[in-house]
Amino acid sequence: MKLIGQILNELGADGLNGIVLYPGACCYVKSVKSVSDFSPKKIVLRAGGKSVSIEGENMQIGEYFEGDILIKGGVMAVRIE
């Protein structure tokens, strides 16, 4: 994790706005402002001033608290617009 932190720092990435994806299992998104669309096949989030669209099958929100959201289910794609 220290290595990842160094890489993110060098790249100028904001560590607070991150997405961790485990394809077909779950997706973890930080700094979520709101959930703008929610269905088992598509979940759209507002995070870091962008729209994060998560697509998959049988998805549900496993946990949502203080801007951190865990989406469980068959996550297949994450699109940032």
Binding site: S34, V35, S36, D37, F38, S39, P40, Q60, I61, G62, E63, Y64, F65, E66, G67
Partner: protein, 300 residues
């Protein structure tokens, strides 16, 4: 997973997920396992957040309801509804536990079960009478005393619920040839000593007995109750005889021969006195002899 307790209280509201999540986020309520089910939005909250969740969706349009309680809350609700049953079960368990601490019955098993009355007496002497605590029993001493009973070759004391089980094994040959009669005197005389290992002594040292008199009864008496058992023990009876011996002359050798004729198999001579009476054809030695006779039952 089916048997796992549900960690969250599941709430169902008539709302869009987007607006419900917005409100829940604003109220800083952590939500779990959110899903859509037709027109309903279902989400989970911790028990401590249920009131807050109901408060932010208080308007009738949300039609909020608890769909499923958390495992802990379900258990508590069930416990509240079945309080009497649970109380009864607890009382039963407590009663069973307490009764298991006490000895309500003593069972003597094994080939030595005929020694039951004596075994029960021994364990009672060592603190484990009926109604007393199991912990009061001095097991090593009781085991030692039981092993010292005649023919006992094995003893094991164990606890089964509120029953004290004493397994007593005796020598095979002995268990098949037990004499269940009382010990009776086979000579008349005076009792010198008497030891009753099992059974009840009928006489004591110093008593005079006649042939056929009971020395040890085949029963025991405890608290006024009589229980059959085998008689085990031995007695020493002293008896006297007058013996006459004819000899050709009054000499040392004649006296020796006269004394030699006194020996009776198994009995010990305790005293001898004599007088010599002169006859036409020789002498008549009249001897007053005391014998010590030993008699036993169920002892080898």
């Amino acid at each position: 997973m089916g048997g796992k307790l549900n960690r969250y209280c599941e709430i169902r509201i008539t709302s869009t997920a987007e607006s419900a999540l917005k409100r829940l986020k604003k109220a800083q309520i952590p939500v779990y396992n959110c899903k859509k089910q037709g027109a309903y939005f279902i989400f989970g909250v911790k028990d401590k957040d249920i009131k807050k969740a109901f408060a932010i969706f208080a308007k009738p349009c949300y039609n909020i309801a608890v769909q499923r309680q958390s495992g802990l809350k379900s258990l508590l609700s069930l416990a509240a509804m079945r309080a009497g049953l649970i109380l009864g079960a607890l009382i039963f368990a407590a009663a069973a536990y307490v009764s298991n601490l006490y000895i309500l019955k003593i069972e003597v098993t094994g080939s030595g079960s005929y020694l039951e009355s004596e075994v029960v007496r021994i364990v009672a002497d060592e603190g484990a009478g009926r109604g007393s605590l199991f912990t009061a029993l001095n097991t090593p001493v009781a085991t030692g005393k039981i092993l010292s009973l005649p023919q006992v070759v094995f003893c094991d004391i164990s606890k089964k619920g509120s029953v004290l089980v004493v397994d007593v094994q005796v020598e095979n040959s002995h268990s098949q040839s037990v004499d269940r009669k009382p010990l009776t005197a086979d000579v008349s005389g005076k009792v010198v000593s008497l030891t009753a290992i099992c059974g009840t002594a009928a006489v004591s040292a110093g008593d005079s007995v006649s042939k056929g008199d009971v020395l040890i009864y085949a029963y025991t008496q405890t608290d006024g109750e009589t229980e059959d058992c085998i008689a085990v023990g031995y007695a020493e009876i002293e008896y006297g005889r007058t013996v006459e011996y004819f000899a050709p002359d009054d000499s040392e050798s004649s006296l020796k021969e006269a004394y030699a004729s006194l020996l009776i198999e198994g009995d010990e001579i305790t005293r001898v006195s004599h007088k010599t009476v002169t006859e036409e054809s020789g002498v008549r030695i009249v001897m007053d002899v005391g014998y010590l006779h030993r008699i036993s039952i169920n002892l080898t």
